[in-house]
Amino acid sequence: MAVYRKSYRGYSGKTTPEWRRFLVVARYAGRRLVRSRLLVAFVAACFLYSIGCAVYIYACHNKLVLSVLGVLGANQATLVGSTFFYVFLQVETGLALILTALAGPGLLSPDLTDQGIVLYLSRPFSRAEYLLGKWLVLLALLSGITWLPGLGLFAIQSDLAGSAWLLANLWMLAGLFFGSFYAILMLSLPALAFSAWFRRKLVAGGALLLLFILGSGFGQAVNASLRTHAGDFLALDHLMRIVQSALFRRPSAHAVSAGAAWAELALLSMLCLALIIRKIRAREVAQ
């Protein structure tokens, strides 16, 4: 069916493998996101902190800088160790929350506002693939500012400190990866759920921020008024801190165990998926 031909003709060329189709959704969703200058500027700003950390690691191994600062001979382990990477992850998790609030709301709502979702699902394409494609965008964005730069910093530190440090601190890689993954799930799934339920991006983004800010405040109020620790389950940021503390072998001030925090993540994920699936439907006829 060439442009100059005004009659219909079928397609007989090759087709892509079915398992790869979810990447189409991810590609188009990602392309839509990068059109937002605010988002691109924020992602770039997020890298500044990682670059600052890299400079710090370099400085910690530079005798001239250390002597200027008057800390020459200080214990390297205290300068760049589990605390350093824990704090790095904490800061990046905070940035990830803002990034999710900026990027998440625009993922599902445009497809649901004008029933575009019906056209996705009338193709050889499932709801799970659709969701996976959309989630992949958030996974890539959030990975880009959490565990991936963390891994880079770890590599720089290993290179400068030597193989002995690397072998002694290899466990921190798991902390970086699983701590980031916990935060990514904790942020991305509610973001997708809000994106499915609120058509306006601003409302969905605001709701995500409120979930974390009000949830934390409400959790503390519950703890104070009822003299329990049950409120910690409402404070999602506390849960992330609990899991990340445990992964970096740090003492936790919270009574909730890391296992319970993972269990809450599982529950929250199921709730979010149920909320999303309620909205992602191919049917357009009211039952």
Partner: protein, 309 residues
């Protein structure tokens, strides 16, 4: 030849409510029209064929593939144009249609090429780089059609394609559908409550009422039969026109002064009728082939057992 779709004792229920009840049949027409009043089950049947609804009983097959077991296979062969607005407002038409073609399995380059071609085909070539949010209702209908054909389906399912279109836009849509119907390798299921749409585009009509098939007719045969029924209005002459026409092999029934209905014999040419009128000094003021057959069929199908609609 594999039928386009087959229904075997198909029933679909939503909770306690039965929407489609015991539908049967095998349909192989190039273009099949689904007719019926609102709530008859037309859209539910389409959604069932696409695998969105699971049959409560029985089965449906499209090109021999079960809607229950192989919905993905079916959807890869089908292009679907839904009834309601379905688009992504912030996308341009070309990227929207391209994405939909890619989701159907076309590689990115082929999808882009087909997106341009489809948009040109439906008449949106000049507007293809505009955001869909700026499109009029008629243009949105055309984009829905473009995305449905971009991947070159074997079956095109059109749900109320002329909804909300003004007469010229409707005419254009009907012309496009007819053009696709006449092309090779594409079957069409057109769901509409507008008899004219079905009459002008389809070879067969399936009439649904309260979730049941109440009539299935071959419109091509009906049309052929209708070519033999004439309604005439004449003026002048001495009244022997009807008798003379009968001698030529037509059956005539006079329904009023100068008005008559005729059934033409096989191979009879209209030219002979005009020649006869000239001989008998009769002026033919109106000559109509019977056109309201589908309406007759529909109304008959909609009648209750007591004869009421």
């Amino acid at each position: 030849m594999t039928p386009v779709f087959e229904l075997s004792q198909l029933s679909v229920r939503f909770g306690p409510k039965t929407i489609l009840s015991d539908l049967n049949g095998s349909y192989s027409a190039r273009a099949t029209g689904l007719l019926g009043p609102n709530g008859a089950g037309k859209s539910t049947l389409i959604n069932t064929l696409l695998g969105f609804y699971q049959p409560a009983a029985g089965a449906a097959r499209v090109f021999g593939f079960s809607t229950r077991a192989e919905p993905r296979r079916i959807r890869s062969l089908v292009g679907y144009m839904p009834e309601h607005e379905s688009f992504i407002a912030e996308m341009t038409a070309v990227s929207f249609v391209r994405m939909m073609a890619e989701l159907s399995g076309l590689p990115p380059d082929a999808a882009l090429e087909r997106a341009h071609e489809s948009l040109y085909f439906v008449g949106l070539g000049e507007a293809r780089y505009r955001a869909l949010s700026t499109y009029s209702l008629g243009m949105k209908q055309l984009v829905k059609l473009a995305q449905a054909i971009a991947h070159g389906p074997r079956l095109l399912i059109l749900d109320e394609p002329t909804n909300g279109l003004d007469p010229p836009a409707r005419e254009r849509m009907i012309r496009l559908i007819r053009g696709m119907r006449d092309s090779q390798g594409l079957n069409i299921i057109l769901c509409s409550h507008l008899l004219r749409d079905v009459e002008e585009t389809c070879d067969e009509a399936l009439i649904l009422k309260d979730g049941c098939i109440v009539h299935h007719s071959n419109l091509a045969e009906e049309r052929k039969a209708n070519r033999r029924f004439l309604e005439l209005e004449t003026y002048g002459g001495d009244g022997g026109f009807a008798d003379a026409a009968e001698k030529l092999g037509c059956e005539c029934a006079v329904s009023g002064p100068g008005r008559m209905r005729m059934v033409l014999s096989e191979g009879f040419e209209i030219r002979s009728l005009f020649r006869l009128a000239a001989e008998k000094n009769v002026r033919i003021r109106r000559l109509n082939f019977r056109r309201d057959s589908l309406q007759d069929i529909f109304l008959k199908a909609m009648e209750g057992s007591d004869g009421r609609l």
